[in-house]
């Protein structure tokens, strides 16, 4: 085939192909194709082939993200600060979004004030956008509500991009705000309620937002009260979907920004008119995110925008309470941000909240709340502990609500029992009334569902108890190891050792000095004894045991000893600077309060004690337990402080060997190698120190950062003059600058504290 012939065929093929795509609905496609191709069967085949490829969903090109499998982010085109646009002077860029860039700007006429100017990105049909905005301007002007920001003006820049001028709101997106303030579920729902009330106002004026999402709901403070402000009312409609309105080519639909909050009817882009129920859906997604920390289909995001929209239209969202189960590694943080734990979070979401969310986010819009007002009403009912509408007239549900309201007088057992009795009566009555079989089946299904939920509850509770038991068990085995070591120390040295034990076991012991009988007197320290300075043979001095524990008040004015602080997990720290043990403990990177406190008079004794404690730990937990390593490091640190360089080196080597056997833990390995290198340097074993240092740095490089707790060690090594240049050489530039930055911060913090 010659080139021009091919061009001609291609041209024909293209025209017929496109004509078919633009056929009015209902036209007979076969007929049309036949009439266009005539007896050119080759052409017909080619066009049909193209059409079939057009309809396939697996086109690589649909992922228009450069082949990286990421939704395209439309970069905004910035305009230089200082530029004058109409009566507004751009002062500062304050945000970017799918539609464009937002600036803080100053207006001079007719009033002088600061405003927000949103400049829409390139490529919009400016005239249409502004015309659409003007059309709604009258209605927008009628909106006056504390939770809604006003849109003042619209126009076009000299280069022809549309812009909108709005009331300036400074604050955080509602989701960020709630997380930053670690708001509880209830506080979040109360804030969300205000958002609903704002949207309700707009709905009453006949205005639909169309693009409700966290970045369009800013939280700002007025007189110390958090007020959510909805921005961009009237803008989405002017800008969004300018395409779908005017072309037949809905299947090429373009989307602005993120589809995460879009209702199915919007994501489908079928050109269906959008009404208040689209906003209700978006509000549902917003609340879902506020409560669970994720949007309903967030895991579809990475599959590309088309699959994502598909999920919105066809996939059922997980119940919020179920989602909590499937969050895996983020669930702890999400619960913490809501000031609660995983179990209570799940419990609070189950039931009413699940109902409200499901109703808001129904795929079919006639199953959703009609307007934001209805949603607001149900949220309010929830907050007031009343029966919500979303659950419908369900007798059992109402009964449950009733009992919950009168919980004080009715025990949980009787609630369950009572509910079951009512359920039985209900089904009997229904049976007598000869209700349809289907209804009965439904209620049985519900029953099963209910039982399954109960079982799940039980299982969760058992699991939590099991975990607690394990923690307790480990804690008490550590307590026993610490106590045995203390007793041993006393036996060998005939010295006073005091062991404050785990608070949960509520018992504290002292092994006191000589006793007439020759038996080491073990004294149980009662609260009373401690308060009165204890038994005569024991003098407890200068120690500040775990904070917040009334029993352990410091005795002022007496010399302090060495305290060995041990946490429930076996973390150990030695303190002798008289500061709050709990603070020392946490400063060393441990969590929580120390639970055991062993007090020994002198330094050598403390080291001796720690060594026998390590042995006890080995006995109890095995030779390579984490507690063994941690304690060995602590011993090494003490030896470093005492200038027992070679002893220290040995302790670090011992812990290094254990770590090596246990496999990768770069942070701990880095710590141990660095410390060992320091001990070697101080003994002038330069070659060895360099080798060790190299290994330590390799671990840091793998970590790609210098952990805060290691900054000091690195600093100390670099301060040992001779080898400063070696460390400089070994540390990659990125880590070095990070280190310098951290050192600087540390110094700043110290200065600040002074």
């Amino acid at each position: 085939m010659k080139a021009n012939e091919m061009d001609h065929t291609t041209n024909q093929e293209e025209q017929i192909f496109l004509a078919v795509l633009e056929l009015a609905p209902g036209t007979d496609r076969e007929e049309f194709l036949k009439s266009k191709c005539g007896d050119n069967h080759e052409l017909l085949k080619r066009v049909e082939e193209l059409l079939s490829f057009h309809q396939r969903g697996d086109n690589l090109l649909d992922d228009t993200s450069g082949g990286f499998g990421m939704p395209t982010v439309l970069a905004a085109d910035t305009i230089a600060v200082g530029t004058q646009i109409g009566p507004y002077k751009l002062l500062q860029e304050i945000g970017t979004g799918g539609m464009g860039v937002v600036y803080m700007a100053e207006q001079f006429h007719p009033v002088r004030r600061k405003v927000a100017v949103k400049i829409i990105k390139w490529g919009m049909d400016t005239r249409n956008v502004i015309a659409r905005f003007e059309a709604e301007r009258q209605a927008l002007a009628m909106m006056d509500h504390p939770n809604i920001t006003k849109v003042f003006d619209a126009g076009s820049t000299s280069s022809g991009r549309p812009y909108f001028v709005m009331e300036l709101v400074t604050g955080l997106a509602i989701t960020d705000y709630c997380d930053r303030e670690k708001l509880s579920l209830r506080d979040r729902i109360e804030l969300f309620y205000q958002v609903c009330v704002g949207v309700k106002h707009a709905h009453q004026k006949g205005i639909i937002h169309r693009d409700l999402k966290p970045s369009n709901v800013m939280v700002t403070h007025y007189d110390g009260v958090a007020v959510p402000k909805i921005i961009d009312f009237g803008i989405a409609k002017a800008v969004d979907h300018s395409l779908t309105d005017k072309t037949l080519f809905t299947s090429y639909g373009n989307m602005i920004g993120t589809p995460e909050y879009m209702s199915p009817e919007q994501a489908e882009m079928s050109g269906q008119d959008i009404d208040t129920r689209a906003d209700v859906y978006s509000l549902g997604v917003l609340m879902y995110e506020l409560l669970t920390g994720t949007t309903p289909f967030y895991h579809w995001k990475k599959k590309g925008i088309h699959k994502f929209c598909d999920a919105i239209c066809h996939e059922e969202a997980e119940l919020a309470s179920t989602r909590i189960n499937n969050l895996a590694d983020t669930v702890e943080e999400i619960s913490r941000n809501r000031g609660t734990d995983v179990r209570s979070l799940k419990r609070s979401l189950r039931g009413d909240m699940d109902w409200i969310l499901s109703k808001s986010m129904s795929k079919k819009r006639n199953e959703r709340y009609e307007t934001a007002a209805d949603l607001a009403r149900d949220v309010k009912r929830y907050l007031d502990g009343q029966v919500i509408e979303a659950a419908g007239p369900n007798l059992r549900y109402r009964a449950r609500k009733f009992f919950r309201k009168h919980r004080t007088s009715i025990s949980l057992a009787s609630v369950i029992f009572g509910t079951l009795v009512i359920a039985t009566i209900v089904s009997t009555v229904f049976g007598l009334k000869a209700i349809s079989a289907r209804r009965l089946a439904d209620s049985r299904l519900h029953e099963v569902d209910q039982l399954r939920k109960q079982a799940e509850n039980e299982r969760d509770r058992a699991l939590a108890a099991e975990q607690k038991l394990q923690r307790l068990e480990r804690g008490s085995r550590i307590e026993a190891a610490a106590a045995r070591a203390a007793e041993k120390f006393h036996r060998e040295n005939n010295d006073v050792v005091i062991h404050y034990a785990n608070r949960e076991s509520n018992r504290n012991f002292a092994w006191a000095g000589d006793s007439p009988s020759g038996e080491p007197p073990v004294i149980e320290l009662t609260q009373e004894k401690i308060a009165h300075g204890l038994a005569p043979e024991v003098r407890i001095v200068g120690v500040q045991p775990p904070k917040n524990d009334e029993r352990f008040r410091p005795k002022v004015g007496q010399p302090h000893e060495f305290s060995v602080l041990i946490g429930d997990s076996g973390d150990v720290t030695v303190s002798n600077d008289g500061s709050q043990p709990a603070n020392t403990f946490q400063r060393h990177g441990h969590r929580g309060d120390p639970r055991h406190l062993v007090i020994i008079q002198d330094k050598d004794g403390t080291k001796q004690y720690l060594k026998s404690y390590v042995n006890e730990l080995r006995e109890s937990f095995g030779p390579d337990d984490d507690t063994v390593v941690k304690t060995l490091i602590e011993i090494g640190n003490m030896e470093l402080n005492d200038k027992d360089w070679s002893e220290a080196e040995n302790s670090f080597r011992e812990s290094r060997d254990i770590l090596q056997l246990r496999g990768k833990n770069d942070e701990q390995m880095a710590r141990v190698e660095l410390l060992m290198s320091k001990a070697q340097l101080l003994q002038d074993k330069h070659a060895l120190a360099r080798e060790t240092l190299k290994k330590g740095v390799n671990h840091l490089v793998r970590l790609r950062q210098v952990p805060r707790e290691l900054v000091d060690v690195v600093k100390e090594i670099s301060e040992l003059d001779v080898h400063q240049h070696e460390l400089q050489e070994l540390l990659p530039a990125t880590l070095r600058s990070e280190l310098e930055e951290k050192l600087q911060k540390n110094i700043e913090i110290e200065i600040h504290q002074k």
Partner: protein
């Protein structure tokens, strides 16, 4: 601001079409440098956003004062070709690695791993794109802008100086055409 790029852009505007050839290597190297730098600073597993990358390159090479769409159009044309080469290099290197050969030095270290299947798809698509360019360069340019830079339909239409409707029609046809071509091979 008057640097190489603005000079070249002026030349292109003045109708000296051969200046386009000067633009590509500059944009290509800028994009590679930027990508390398970004990949180095990103945590492992993070991905690049071609659109953001190209926009940043634009700001660096031309500056933010210029609000001239014509400049952008030429620039994006060059950027699309550059991104295409970077990505196809990456895909090729992936393919040769899997075959047991040595990794080609041209590939950007640290680019997100792509599957062999995807790499092969990309290479096949690239070949089909060359064929399309031979028949209809406007359509091929549209695909490059959309696919390799991530411009949306309106932006691409503006860059190519065609109407949105034409862009949409071209896109539909090019998509089906390329898909057919890829499956044929």
């Amino acid at each position: 601001m008057d640097n190489d790029v603005t000079r070249i852009l002026k030349a292109i505007k003045a109708g000296r079409g051969e200046a386009t050839d000067e633009l590509l290597p500059i944009v290509y190297h800028e994009l590679r440098d930027l990508a390398t730098k970004k990949l180095r600073n990103e945590a492992a597993g993070n991905t690049l956003q071609p659109t953001a990358l190209v926009h940043e390159a634009y700001l660096r090479l031309i500056g933010s004062e210029s609000d001239d769409w014509e400049n952008r159009a030429h620039f994006f044309g060059a950027a699309a070709e550059a991104m295409r080469r970077i990505l196809i290099d990456h895909a090729r290197s992936k393919k040769s690695q899997k075959r047991g050969g040595e990794s080609q030095p041209v590939s950007l270290e640290g680019l997100p791993e792509i599957s062999l299947e995807k790499a092969e798809e990309l290479i096949a698509l690239d070949e089909a794109l060359n064929e399309l360019a031979a028949v209809d360069s406007t359509k091929a340019d549209l695909v490059k802008l959309r696919f390799f830079v991530g411009l949306n339909m309106e932006e691409s239409a503006l860059a190519l100086g065609i109407s949105l409707r034409t862009a949409e029609r071209n896109w539909a046809y090019a998509k089906a055409w390329l898909h057919r071509q890829v499956c044929r091979d």
